[in-house]
C-alpha cells in the first residue's frame, strides 16, 4: 500500500490549511446557529419596527401616541446630529423618525390635522409604510371619538382599548414560521467548506501524482497502473469519508438532538451526497492546474461562485428569476433546496423533493467526474 501511504503523506503537508478552514467554519456556523435561533417562532406576530420619536407635545395626545407605539415597536434614542441619524438609518438601527410638534394636541383638537406630524424615513421603505399605517390608524380612531363629541381623556382611553384588539393570523402549514434548528444553519454552509477543503487538499495530492516526471517514474514501477489507481481511489474515498465524519462530529456537538432526528438524518445524507460531488469537482479542477497558486485560484473560484450562486451565502429568495434559472445548473443550489425542504419534512414519505435533489447532486458529481476523466485522458494522449 505504498501509494496509499504516500497519498496521506502528501496530504499531511496541508494539515495547517485544513485546520484553519475547519476552525473558521466552526466559529462561523456556531455563531450563526445561535444568533439566528432567536428569529423563528410558532405564532404569528407583527414585525416590530425601530423608531425614534421626538415628542415636543405638551398635551396628552402626543404621549398617548408614543405610548401606543412603544407597546408594539422598539423606541430608539434620537441621534443628536443629522450625520449620526444618517448612519443609524443606513445601518437600519432606526427605520423611522417621528417628529411630534409642541402644539400637536391643540392643533389636532381644533381640526388642523393634515400633515401635522413629520416622519423621516429611508425613501420608499416598507417598514416606514407599515409605521405610517400604524400611526394613521391610531390617530383616525382618536379623531373618530373626538368627532363624535367625546372628551379627549375618554377618547384616548377608548382608542387605547380599541388598539389592543389584534387579529388572529394563521400560518398555512404547521411548519411555516417555526423556529429553524441550529443544525439547519450548520448544514447550510457545508458546500463552501467541503469545496475549499476538497479542492485544496485533495487537489494538492492529485497534483503531486499527476506531475509529469513523477507519474512517468511511477508508470515504470513494479506496481501496476491498476493497482496504483485502486490505492489512490481508496485514499480519496477514505479522505472524503474522513472529512465528512469530522463535520458530522461537529454537527453532533453543535446540535445533538437535531442530528439524531429524521431531519438530521436527511441533512447528514445531503452532506454525504455533496461530499461526493465536492471530490468530483476537485478532481475536475486538478486537471487544469500546474501549481499550488493556481490550485488556490481554482478553490476560490469554485467554492465562492458555487456558494454565492447556489444560495449558500445570501438567500435564494433575493435572487432574480434569471439568476435562479442559471443557479439550477450548480450542484450547491440543489443542496440548498434539499436543506430547505428537509425542514418541512415530518416523515420520509413527504421527502420527495429531497430525494430528487440528492439525485441531481449525484448527477452533477458524475458529470464533473466524467469531465475530469475526459480531460485527464486527453492530457495523457498529448504527453
Amino acid at each position: 500500500m505504498q501509494v496509499f501511504k504516500v497519498f496521506f503523506k502528501v496530504m499531511g503537508k496541508k494539515k495547517t490549511t485544513m485546520c484553519i478552514y475547519i476552525l473558521i467554519y466552526l466559529v462561523i456556523s456556531v455563531t450563526i446557529s445561535y444568533s439566528m435561533k432567536e428569529h423563528g417562532q410558532e405564532e404569528f406576530s407583527k414585525v416590530s419596527v425601530k423608531i425614534a420619536v421626538e415628542n415636543l407635545d405638551q398635551g396628552e395626545l402626543g404621549a398617548g401616541l408614543v405610548s401606543y407605539l412603544g407597546q408594539h415597536h422598539q423606541l430608539q434614542e434620537l441621534p443628536e446630529t443629522r450625520l449620526a441619524l444618517q448612519d443609524a438609518m443606513y445601518y437600519q438601527e432606526i427605520d423611522y423618525v417621528l417628529a411630534i410638534p409642541k402644539d400637536f394636541t391643540e392643533k389636532f383638537q381644533t381640526g388642523q390635522q393634515e400633515g401635522i406630524l413629520e416622519g423621516t424615513m429611508v425613501p420608499g421603505s416598507r417598514a416606514a409604510s407599515f409605521m405610517e399605517q400604524e400611526i394613521q390608524q391610531y390617530l383616525n380612531i382618536v379623531s373618530m371619538y373626538q368627532a363624535a363629541g367625546m372628551e379627549q381623556e375618554r377618547a384616548l382611553e377608548l382608542a387605547a382599548e380599541d388598539m389592543e384588539k389584534e387579529v388572529n393570523v394563521d400560518f398555512l402549514e404547521k411548519s411555516d414560521g417555526q423556529e429553524l434548528a441550529g443544525g439547519y444553519y450548520f448544514f447550510q454552509y457545508i458546500p463552501y467548506v467541503f469545496l475549499v477543503l476538497m479542492i485544496l487538499v485533495f487537489g494538492s495530492v492529485m497534483k503531486t501524482f499527476q506531475d509529469k516526471d513523477l507519474s512517468a517514474r511511477n508508470k515504470c514501477s513494479a506496481r501496476s497502473f491498476w493497482e496504483q489507481n485502486v490505492q489512490i481511489i481508496l485514499g480519496s474515498v477514505l479522505f472524503t469519508f474522513g472529512v465528512y465524519l469530522l463535520f458530522m462530529g461537529m454537527a453532533c456537538l453543535i446540535d445533538f438532538s437535531y442530528l439524531f432526528s429524521l431531519k438530521g438524518l436527511l441533512s447528514a445524507i445531503n452532506a454525504l451526497v455533496f461530499s461526493i460531488c465536492a471530490i468530483s469537482v476537485a478532481w475536475f479542477c486538478v486537471q487544469f492546474v500546474h501549481s499550488s497558486a493556481e490550485l488556490n485560484v481554482m478553490s476560490n473560484i469554485f467554492s465562492l461562485s458555487f456558494s454565492f450562486l447556489g444560495g449558500v451565502f445570501g438567500s435564494l429568495e433575493l435572487m432574480g428569476d434569471s439568476v435562479r434559472q442559471i443557479a439550477k445548473f450548480i450542484p450547491s443550489y440543489w443542496y440548498v433546496i434539499a436543506n430547505q425542504e428537509i425542514q418541512k419534512v415530518e416523515n420520509l414519505a413527504q421527502a420527495g423533493r429531497v430525494y430528487q435533489s440528492y439525485g441531481l447532486v449525484l448527477v452533477f458529481a458524475l458529470a464533473f467526474f466524467s469531465a475530469g476523466l475526459l480531460v485527464n485522458r486527453m492530457k495523457l494522449r498529448t504527453i
Binding site: 414585525v47 400633515g115 399605517q133 373618530m144 371619538y145 393570523v169 445570501g314 433575493l318
Partner: protein, 395 residues
C-alpha cells in the same frame, strides 16, 4: 531612464498572470457574486412594493371589506387584490405569488339572523388572514385587517356611548385625513448591503500589497537573484526603485478603476454621483496597498513565502474589519473600538466611499483621506528608510 524602466516594469507586471488575476479578475468575480446574491436586497426586502394578496369570499352581496381592499389598491397602491377561490389562493401563497390570503367565512343562518336583529349586514370578525411567514408585508396585511376590525369596534363604542356622533365619526373614515408629511434623509434607498461593495473596493486597492512586495523582493539583493543583479548596476538605486513602484501603482490603480467601473456601470451598483472623488480614493488606497507590501518586503530577512503570507493575511484581516465578510463590522467597531476604524486602511477606504455616497458635506471624507495619506507616507518613509544605503557584505 525613468520612463524606460517604468515601461519595462509595466510590461513585466502585466505578464504576471496570477498577480493580474488577484488584482483584476478576483474583485470582478466577487463583485458579480455579491451583486447576484444580495444586490437586490434593498429592492426585495427594504423598498416598498404593492403587496399582492388573495381574497376568498363566497358572499354574493356587497362586501365591505372587499370595498376597503379595492380602495387600498386603487387609491393608495398598498395592495394588489386577487379574487380567487381557496384552493387557488393556497396554491398562489405556496408559490409566493401572493403574500397572504384574506378569507371571509360563510355565515350560518343563525348568525345572519342575529345580525339582522342588531342591524349589521356583515361582521368584521368573520375575516381571517393566512400567511406563510412573518415579515413586514405580512405585518402590513395584518394591520389592514386590524384597522378594519378596530374601526368596527370604535363605531360600536360610539354607538353605545355617544350615538348622536356616529355620523360625524363616519365622516372621519370617509375623509381619510393624512396626518403625516414625509421628510426623507437621502434621495435613494441605501442599506448596509452596500458596505460589502465598499469593502470589496477597499480590498481591491489593498491587493496592491502583492505588487509592493514584489517590488521590494526585486530590489533587495538578499531576497532574489534578480535584485542581486540589479544592485550590481551603476544606476542610482532609487532610480531603479521609483519607476518600478510607479509602474506597480499604475497597474494596481487601473485594475481598481476597472473594477469600480464594472461595479458601477455593468453591475449597476450605486456608489454615488462623485465619480472623480471615488477615483481619487482608489488611487490613495492603491498607494497605501503598494507601500504596505513594499514595507513588509523591505523589513527583515524572512523567506518570500512568509512575507507573502503576512501581506495576504494582513490585507484580508483589514478587509474583514471593513465588513468584507461580515456586514455591519464597521458599525460594530465604531461602537466598541473606534480606534480600529481610524487606523485600518480598508475601513478608511470603505468609509471614505460611504461618506461620499451618504453625507452631503466632505468633512468625514476629508478625515478619511488625510488618515490614508498619513498611513501611505508613514509606510513609504519607513520602507525607503529600510532599503536606503543598504550594503551587503555577503548574500
Amino acid at each position: 531612464m525613468f520612463f524606460k524602466l517604468y515601461r519595462y516594469s509595466i510590461l513585466q507586471t502585466m505578464r504576471q498572470k496570477l498577480t493580474i488575476f488577484w488584482s483584476l479578475l478576483f474583485p470582478i468575480i466577487m463583485g458579480t457574486l455579491f451583486r447576484v446574491s444580495f444586490g437586490d436586497f434593498m429592492n426585495e426586502t427594504v423598498v416598498f412594493h404593492q403587496i399582492p394578496v388573495a381574497y376568498v369570499t363566497e358572499e354574493e352581496q356587497f362586501d365591505a371589506f372587499q370595498a376597503v381592499l379595492e380602495s387600498l389598491e386603487e387609491e393608495e397602491g398598498l395592495v394588489e387584490l386577487i379574487l380567487v377561490d381557496r384552493e387557488e389562493a393556497e396554491a398562489l401563497l405556496k408559490d409566493e405569488k401572493v403574500e397572504g390570503i384574506y378569507q371571509r367565512a360563510v355565515s350560518s343562518a343563525a348568525q345572519n339572523l342575529e345580525r339582522e336583529t342588531i342591524g349589521i349586514e356583515q361582521s368584521a370578525e368573520d375575516i381571517t388572514l393566512t400567511v406563510t411567514k412573518k415579515g413586514i408585508n405580512q405585518s402590513i396585511l395584518s394591520s389592514v385587517l386590524e384597522q378594519y376590525q378596530r374601526t368596527f369596534q370604535t363605531m360600536e363604542h360610539i354607538a353605545r356611548e355617544q350615538p348622536a356622533g356616529i355620523e360625524a365619526a363616519a365622516s372621519v373614515i370617509r375623509e381619510q385625513c393624512q396626518y403625516l408629511k414625509a421628510g426623507t434623509i437621502s434621495d435613494t434607498p441605501k442599506g448596509d448591503v452596500t458596505d460589502y461593495f465598499y469593502a470589496l473596493i477597499a480590498m481591491n486597492c489593498l491587493m496592491g500589497v502583492i505588487m509592493g512586495l514584489q517590488s521590494a523582493l526585486e530590489f533587495k539583493a538578499n531576497l532574489s537573484p534578480l535584485a542581486a543583479r540589479r544592485v550590481m548596476a551603476s544606476t542610482h538605486r532609487f532610480g531603479i526603485l521609483l519607476p518600478d513602484l510607479a509602474a506597480k501603482l499604475t497597474i494596481q490603480f487601473l485594475c481598481t478603476v476597472f473594477s469600480v467601473c464594472y461595479l458601477m456601470f455593468a453591475m449597476q451598483v450605486s456608489l454615488g454621483e462623485k465619480f472623480p472623488l471615488v477615483l481619487l480614493t482608489t488611487l490613495l488606497g492603491s498607494l497605501v496597498g503598494i507601500f504596505w507590501g513594499f514595507f513588509v518586503g523591505a523589513a527583515g530577512t524572512y523567506k518570500e513565502t512568509v512575507k507573502e503570507g503576512i501581506c495576504i493575511a494582513g490585507m484580508l484581516f483589514s478587509s474583514f474589519l471593513a465588513g468584507m465578510m461580515v456586514g455591519g463590522m464597521y458599525r460594530f467597531l465604531e461602537t466598541h473600538m473606534p480606534v480600529v476604524n481610524r487606523i485600518n486602511p480598508a475601513s478608511l477606504i470603505s468609509h471614505a466611499l460611504y461618506s461620499l455616497d451618504i453625507y452631503q458635506g466632505y468633512e468625514k471624507y476629508a478625515q478619511c483621506m488625510v488618515s490614508l495619506l498619513l498611513i501611505a507616507v508613514l509606510l513609504g518613509v519607513c520602507g525607503f528608510a529600510l532599503v536606503r544605503r543598504e550594503r551587503y557584505a555577503s548574500i
